[in-house]
């Protein structure tokens, strides 16, 4: 039984998704696997984007909606004939709504070995100030 072998990798299939809007570009859309965790200071997002190069990755944050788009061109050369195909390439696409206010200026994104690491620092809580009222 597979369950008995310790820390054997659990397998997930690449998830194809329906396009949110009509696409102008042909191709398949995939939803990348992500980890999202939050500490007091920031939200971190890790996404598996195999085959995406930094120049093909777009991260967009507006109106609290974070959109990640990554294009993977077909790697096969013209002289190659496919013998078997277990995965397809296309576009990775996923959107998240963020409930916290993010400090846009300090967002950091790093793409390494096909994994995106996105640090979204939270805006420091406004420091309480006492307002002195002058008697007029």
């Amino acid at each position: 039984m597979t369950e008995t072998t310790s820390n054997e990798m659990k397998v997930q299939e690449k998830k194809e998704v329906a396009a949110p809007a009509e696409q102008t570009r042909p191709g398949v859309l995939f939803s990348p696997d992500v980890d999202i965790f939050e500490t007091d200071r920031q939200i971190t997002l890790l996404a598996d984007l195999p085959g995406v190069t930094p120049d093909q990755l777009t991260i967009d944050l507006r109106d609290d909606v974070l959109t990640i788009t990554g294009d993977v061109p077909s790697a096969a050369g013209p002289e190659e004939k496919a013998l078997f195909t277990e995965y397809e390439t296309g576009r990775y696409y996923r959107q998240f709504t963020l409930s916290e206010v993010i400090d846009q200026a300090r967002i950091e994104a790093q793409l390494k070995d096909g994994v995106l690491r996105l640090n979204l620092p939270k805006v420091a809580k406004a420091t309480p100030r006492t307002i002195t009222v002058n008697a007029g």
Binding site: N7, M9, Q12, F37, P50, G51, L83, E88
Partner: protein
């Protein structure tokens, strides 16, 4: 004497049967969707990593999706025409105070073996890892390369 094996492979219970059926149905759905020049897609059926193999006259090219797997955590061996790709995908442990909202990425050990359809030159396999994709360029053995046959008149 009955041996448990008599009833089929271990784990082939009703649950597995159901999985198998739903997978078949999904595969059928996919087949129906295949159109145009999009290649027929054979779902990986629960294997990691997913592998694509193609051939040209001189090479087999194998590509595998291995996001987040370091070169040092990957082991590739070739025996005859068989290739084995094994390794471990390590997920970094994060801050203990972190609260998870999503946890979809998986880590752990994996291993896959597959046979190339023809003889290969095991000494001349070129492996490259870029952006989470492993690419193996496998030179075909002379015997496996196509040969043009001249026709005598």
């Amino acid at each position: 004497m009955f041996s448990p094996r008599f009833f089929g492979p271990a784990g082939f219970g009703p649950l597995r049967m159901f999985d198998e059926l739903s997978r078949m149905r999904r595969n059928m759905d996919r087949l129906m969707e295949t159109y145009g020049d999009r290649p027929a897609y054979a779902p990986s059926a629960g294997v990691f990593p997913a592998i694509n193999v193609s051939e040209s006259d001189s090479h087999y090219t194998l590509r595998a999706e291995l996001p987040g797997v370091g070169v040092n955590d990957l082991d590739i061996t070739a025996t005859g025409r068989n290739l084995t790709i094994s390794g471990e995908r390590k997920l970094a442990t994060e801050d203990a105070s972190a609260r998870y909202h999503r946890r979809e990425r998986e880590g752990g050990r994996f291993s896959r073996a597959l046979a190339m359809p023809g003889d290969i030159d095991a000494d001349r396999i070129e492996a490259r890892m870029a952006n989470g994709i492993l690419t193996l360029k496998i030179l075909k053995a002379e015997s496996a390369k196509p040969r043009r046959i001249p026709i005598g008149s």
